[in-house]
């Protein structure tokens, strides 16, 4: 039996045993971990082969499911996406095993959780391996269904019940669009096997339609504006390792889907690239703005995921434009940047969510304005979190910078070539990324600063303390990965070599990748110098300050004598300039209570920023549909005579139609 089957079987089996043995908190977690470890062990070799040598491993199920031959293929692209699925899946599960001990075991409660956690992993693996429309759709639906139950772990809170509803509605409607996409595509050739699709037979208009469907369907999963609405609901509701897994890994399946569908549709067209860029810019800017305006840490992180998806889309869009205009440099830099950012985001966003989990358990809240000064109580978490914050802002020498740098390079190169049609979207992506980067910096300075620096704003924050190794070890590993990928980018960029060759037309030269490597080498030197300088200056500083008096004094408060933690700058006040400037988009809800009396009493100012799309888009839509359908309800009024009249009328109308020759 091929290793690919084990790859599917082991995590599922682990989860299943966990379900059966679910009464015990420890054992169920262990079973799940065992399954995932097995998956990692099995996956290692094929993934390595695929990424190192570009050879893809195949396996075919001996029997046909529902009339479709099941073929599993692990090509470099799948392998690239599989990497985080298995590795991070295991890391997050390790964290989760400690995180979950917090919650008392109910009847099979933990078992159920771990079962669906592993089911999610299995679903994602299957999605990546499937090469048949129907099989893909089934595994896609499984993958969408599993998190529903994970989000419902705290099902006694109304919030998570609502969140799970929003999540599954979004997921399923997206899935329906995808089903349509595959079946329409299949109607072109014969059968739903990816190999039998014949996009070249399609008219351009139909191909555009199909890509539109795919983009919409996969976009919902990826969380592209304006179909992102499930993320800010689901991520805060789920347990932290699940949020990490969903936001770090699962939403990337949407990106995978988009790439795969472009491949299935026979290569990109300029319009698609432009669409991706536009979607990327819009998602990125709007999402980071909403992130800035949030006060709940996980909700903020969810929005920032949408923003990063935006950056990824920008990269891929730039790449697609490059491909469609036969500009290998633009294409390769863009795609490489996009793909690398997928990996990077998985790393630092995962880490940030894990950190959020620690904070939630230690401080019993994620309200930014109730936290503060945690750097003293949670040194490790603080270190990892701040590192992650720097990385997510794309600052050197961390991994975030590498991917963004590549995307920038692609866009800049696009400026120097003569083609105007390509230039303006590339320019847009350039400016867009710059703005996104700046706002992201603002956002994460706010998060890091308010949570970890200053002095504690609540009692919980004072009493917080670092937890078990099982919880901060994964974070440290991820932190190391962020730093490593950033410092040794020239080597890690080779990861995307073969995935790129899957996406690019066969004729394209890989030379630009070598160019990128050399650039990254230069960057490596500079960042190396920078680190040395930091050490030197630090040393210098220490030498200077030897035997000089170093005084500790209260923060200088402009002469105010009794400073109080409540007087610190809060998250909302930090974000105020931005939220004020973009009020038109954000539409914050403000409750202010300012007394005009001579001796003012308590003065309060609170602002919340719910999602504008939900508020002005979906909610009215749903209400409207409900009202509309409500009209129909008079049919069932309970008078039997009229019921009989329905029968007669129906018959009469039909007979009339027959007589009139309409049917």
């Amino acid at each position: 039996m091929s290793s690919l089957f084990w790859l599917i079987l082991l995590p599922f089996a682990g989860g299943f045993v966990a379900l059966i043995d679910g009464r015990s908190r420890t054992r169920s977690a262990l079973w799940a971990l065992a399954g995932l470890t097995g998956a990692l062990a099995v996956a290692a070799r094929p993934v390595f082969i695929a990424l190192a040598s570009g050879r893809s491993s195949t396996a075919t199920l001996p029997w046909a499911i529902i009339g479709e031959q099941v073929q599993l293929v692990l090509d470099p692209l799948s392998a690239f996406f599989l990497l985080p699925v298995v590795v991070l899946g295991l890391l997050f599960a390790l964290y989760g095993s400690a995180y979950m001990r917090h919650y008392h075991a109910e009847y099979l409660h933990h078992g159920v959780h771990w079962f669906f956690y592993n089911l999610l992993a299995t679903g994602m693996i299957l999605v990546l391996l499937a090469r048949n429309g129907l099989i893909f759709m089934i595994s896609w639906e499984v993958m969408s269904l599993a998190p529903f139950f994970l989000v419902l772990f705290h099902d006694r809170e109304k919030k998570s019940r609502h969140a799970s509803w929003v999540y599954l509605v979004a997921g399923h409607l997206g899935g329906m669009v995808l089903l349509l996409f595959f079946l329409l595509l299949g109607s072109s050739g014969h059968g739903l096997d990816f190999s039998t699709f014949q996009p070249q037979l399609l008219t351009p208009g139909f191909r555009h339609l199909l890509f539109g469907l795919a983009f919409l369907g996969f976009g919902v999963k990826a969380g592209i504006f304006p179909v992102h609405v499930w993320l800010p609901e689901a991520h805060p509701a789920a347990p932290s390792h699940v949020s990490a897994y969903m936001s770090g890994v699962m939403i990337k399946m949407g990106i995978y889907g988009i790439l795969r569908s472009i491949q299935l549709l026979g290569g990109p067209v300029l319009e698609w690239g432009i669409l991706l860029v536009l979607a990327g810019v819009i998602s990125g800017i709007l999402a980071i703005l909403f992130a800035l305006a949030q006060h709940d840490l996980k909700r903020l992180l969810a929005y920032s995921s949408v923003e990063n998806i935006g950056i990824i889309l920008l990269g891929l869009g730039v790449g697609m434009i490059g491909i469609s205009l036969q500009q290998p440099v633009v294409a390769i830099f863009g795609l490489a940047g996009g793909l690398l950012h997928i990996l990077n985001h998985a790393l630092f966003k995962g880490m940030l969510f894990l950190g959020a989990g620690v904070i939630q358990q230690q401080c019993a809240t994620l309200e930014l304005d109730k936290l503060g000064g945690l750097k003293k109580q949670l040194p490790t978490t603080a270190f990892c979190f701040l590192l992650g914050a720097a990385a997510i802002c794309g600052l050197p020498p961390l991994n975030g910078f590498v991917s963004e740098f590549l995307i920038y390079c692609g866009a800049v190169h696009g400026q120097t070539i003569g083609i105007v049609s390509a230039a303006w979207p590339l320019l847009l992506s350039l400016a867009g990324m710059a703005l996104i980067g700046g706002l992201a910096t603002a956002c994460f300075v706010k998060v890091g600063g308010i949570i970890f620096l200053g002095s504690p704003r609540s009692q919980h924050a004072v009493q917080a303390s670092e937890t078990t190794p099982a919880m901060y070890l994964p974070m440290l590993l991820l932190a190391a990965a962020c730093l490593g990928l950033g410092l040794f980018a020239p080597f890690f960029i080779q990861l995307v070599h073969y995935p790129l060759s899957v996406l690019l037309p066969a004729s394209t030269t890989m030379a630009p990748l070598a160019d990128a490597t050399t650039r990254l080498k230069d960057i490596m030197w500079i960042t190396g110098v920078m680190l040395c300088l930091v050490l030197l200056l630090g040393l210098l500083r220490i030498i200077l300050l030897r035997k000089r008096q170093v005084a500790i004094a209260p923060t200088w408060g402009c002469g105010y004598l009794h400073p109080h933690p409540r007087m610190q700058y809060t998250a909302s006040s930090f974000a105020r300039p931005v939220t004020l400037f973009f009020e038109a988009v954000l539409r914050p809800r403000v409750q202010r209570n300012v007394s005009e009396k001579l001796i003012p009493g308590t003065i309060s100012y609170t602002s919340t920023t719910p999602d504008s799309v939900t508020r002005y888009g979906y909610t009215p839509l749903f209400v409207g549909v409900t009202r509309l359908l409500g009209i129909l309800r008079w049919i069932q009024h309970g008078r039997v005579q009229l019921y009989i009249l329905y029968i007669i009328t129906t018959l009469f109308l039909l007979l009339m139609a027959l007589a009139g020759g309409w049917i």
Binding site: G373, V412, T416, G438, D522, I526, L537, A553, T555, F574
Partner: protein, 299 residues
Amino acid sequence: MSFIALILSLALAPLLLSIINRSKAVIAGRRGAPLLQPYFNLTRLLQKGVVYSDVSSGLVQLSPVVNLAVLCCCVVLVPLGPIPAILHFSGDFILLAYLMGMGRFITMLGALDTGSSFEGMGASREAFFAALAEPAFFLTMAGLARITGAQSLNDILQTINSEHWLHATPSLLLIAVAFFLVFLAENARIPIDDPTTHLELTMIHEVMILDHSGPDLAMIEYGVALKIWLLAAIFAALFVPPGTNVLWLPLFLLLMVAIGMLVAMVESSMARLRLIRVPQLLISAGVFAGLALFLEFVQ
């Protein structure tokens, strides 16, 4: 050669600062501080001890160090007029921008570390304005890349010549204006910010470093000088003839001085903008750059 340029930059950076202050004083009709005043300040600060806030958790110490280290790295990337940069590769200005971003990031965290609302306020404004300045900077760079066809800061600045000025005068002018605005914003000069006062609640950069003292403050001040020097060098290089002929160096340095005077003139001729108006300024900078690119496309 390039290393000499490096030393030169590191050495002369504070001088530019003092030129600005001196010429401001002259314009105001005062004699002003001696040209070497910044060096005196730095040496004095380096000899002092330090005072920390009791809430601070180490970042306050870390931030000046990292900030300075980052800015020193930036110097490596910027050519000094005719003298090429030590290290240059396509897209290095992206690295430059992000290194500065790193510096800003750590400075802001350092500011928040003291837990004082003044620093917090400064950080918040810095973050916002920087976010608006970024696109402008990248657009100007893209514009230059478009015009010159080069992709690294060094090549761009060394290839740009009278031809370009002849063919693309309007767009280059627009870009120059845009870049000058970015220059002012990045260095926290009037009309965006006022470097001279500390205690106003309307400050941005200065208020972030309220709680720094001694060597830390020295590093910060030096960092400020370096930053202004770097950006001025880029700005000046737009106007010097191309090529790597060292004889142009004096001219280039003169240009730097001129820029310092220009800044001084701006600062003494106009007052700080109200904070609400600052974003408009930065956005208009971006618009200028975008306009320049548009002009380039339509050609």
